[in-house]
């Protein structure tokens, strides 16, 4: 059975916490989401390009 179709779109965003999570492989999203980035265990600087 085929999947439901929706228009394909690409939208550029600035680096923010989601991007930092994806880049580092970190899954501790809640720590970023709440802004307590200093507790994150990401391998890259958690405040790199951080734009709250």
């Amino acid at each position: 059975m085929k999947k439901a179709y929706m228009k394909p779109e690409a939208k550029k965003i600035d680096f923010h916490y989601n991007a930092v999570i994806a880049q580092s492989g970190c899954t501790i999203e809640s720590q970023h989401s709440t802004g307590s980035v200093g507790q994150c265990t990401c391998t890259i600087d958690p405040i790199y390009n951080y734009k709250p």
Partner: protein, 378 residues
């Protein structure tokens, strides 16, 4: 002991490889192209050292030596192997006690294989990452990235057509005056599927998964780019890497290379075989390719599909790209070179949408990716 592999005579003073090399025995003394011997270890002064493989199980390094030649060192968890090679890889000297376990023998065979493939470059022979079958006295290779389904497509030919394996993972392809020949080699992949046979190479198929069957002939440039991804190239050694790439260029011109979208069902095997062997003139040429530039990776984060730049692209790109579900599917297809026509066929097979809508939306998405400079074309 002497072996005859891919038309190349190998002489070994070591009683190695007895099981896998047995069917490649050759009694003739003449025209030995590679010799394998052993020696006691001595100090070798290295100039430069390159790490080739560093996996959880073993590491492989190569060092260029001050007095010429190369030293290859493999390190496993409990032991290792070292082989000295001359610059042209014609003489290989193993610094190793006789392997005492099956694991250490396998490690040594793997290292020797690596060096024999280096020598093959200078013998107009390539090692192609492919499953290779024989059908009607001619060879067909299924190549592509790991996990794409090369072996299952080859198995479909065996079941549907009575084809036979020549090599499960790594045939040697020898460039001849008039075309090319495919050969089984005794150091095939982990499943050790090989036969000591030589057959004229009829075609190379670059496999892509799809729920439909579509065969397109690649241009010489498209074929070259596809084969470079799948052929062994010793990049640490420019004197061997250059002829290796020259061999790939020759192969891409000497043998038809096709892109094959298909499933692993017998019908797909029959349809592909019919087109290749009965009506090759009816196979259309592939349209120009496009693909996503290197240095961007797609991640799924909390139900969002996000394209993240990596390495040097992080600063240059200065952001990330959020994709919708269908756009993420298209992005994944664009990880390998693909034509717009093939992309549209893949979208139509995956999603419930009419052709006109899908074609217009694909045009718009590709324009967006172009604007973001994510797309390589041509």
């Amino acid at each position: 002991m002497r072996f005859y592999v891919a038309g190349i005579k190998i002489k070994s003073t070591l009683p190695l490889f007895a099981a896998s090399f047995r069917s490649f025995d050759s009694g003739e003394e003449a025209d030995v192209r590679i010799t394998l011997s052993s020696a006691s270890c001595w100090n070798l002064e290295a100039e430069e050292r390159y790490l080739l493989i560093n996996s959880a199980v073993f590491s492989l390094t190569v060092s260029s030596l001050k007095k010429g030649g190369w030293l290859f060192e493999e390190r496993g968890s409990s032991s290792g192997a070292r082989i000295l090679a001359t610059n042209d890889y014609a003489d290989l000297i193993i610094f190793e006690e006789a392997p005492t376990t099956k694991a250490s023998l396998m490690r040594l065979v793997r290292l020797v294989r690596f060096l024999l493939e280096c020598r093959f470059v200078h013998e107009s022979t390539l090692s192609l990452h492919a499953a290779c079958v024989e059908q009607g006295g001619r060879a067909v290779c299924f190549t592509g990235d790991s996990g794409v389904g090369k072996s299952t497509r080859a198995q479909a030919w065996i079941k549907a057509l009575g084809a036979e394996f020549i090599s499960g993972d790594r045939p040697a392809i020898r460039l001849e005056e008039n075309g090319c020949t495919a050969h089984g080699v005794p150091w095939d992949g982990k499943e050790q599927i090989f036969r000591n046979v030589e057959r004229p190479l009829h075609a190379i198929l670059e496999v892509r998964r799809a729920p439909f069957t579509r065969l397109r002939r690649l241009s010489a440039d498209q074929a070259y780019r596809a084969l470079v991804r799948q052929c062994f190239i010793p990049m640490w050694d420019s004197d061997t890497a250059a002829p290796a790439m020259g061999n790939i260029r020759r192969l891409s011109r000497a043998v038809p290379v096709y892109r094959l979208f298909c499933g692993a069902d017998p019908e797909a095997a029959l349809e592909t075989h019919r087109a290749l062997f009965e009506h090759p003139e009816e196979i259309q040429e592939e349209l120009p390719d496009m693909k996503i530039r290197e240095g961007f990776t797609l991640r799924k984060v909390a139900d969002e599909h996000i394209v993240i730049p990596t390495g040097g692209n992080i600063d240059k790109f200065g952001g990330a790209v959020v994709l919708s579900e269908v756009a993420a599917f298209i992005f994944e297809q664009l990880q390998q070179p693909v034509s717009q026509e093939d992309l549209l066929a893949l979208v139509l097979a995956e999603f419930d949408v009419d052709r006109a809508t899908a074609a217009a939306d694909l045009d718009a998405l590709l324009a967006q990716l172009r604007e973001l400079e994510l797309l390589l074309e041509g």
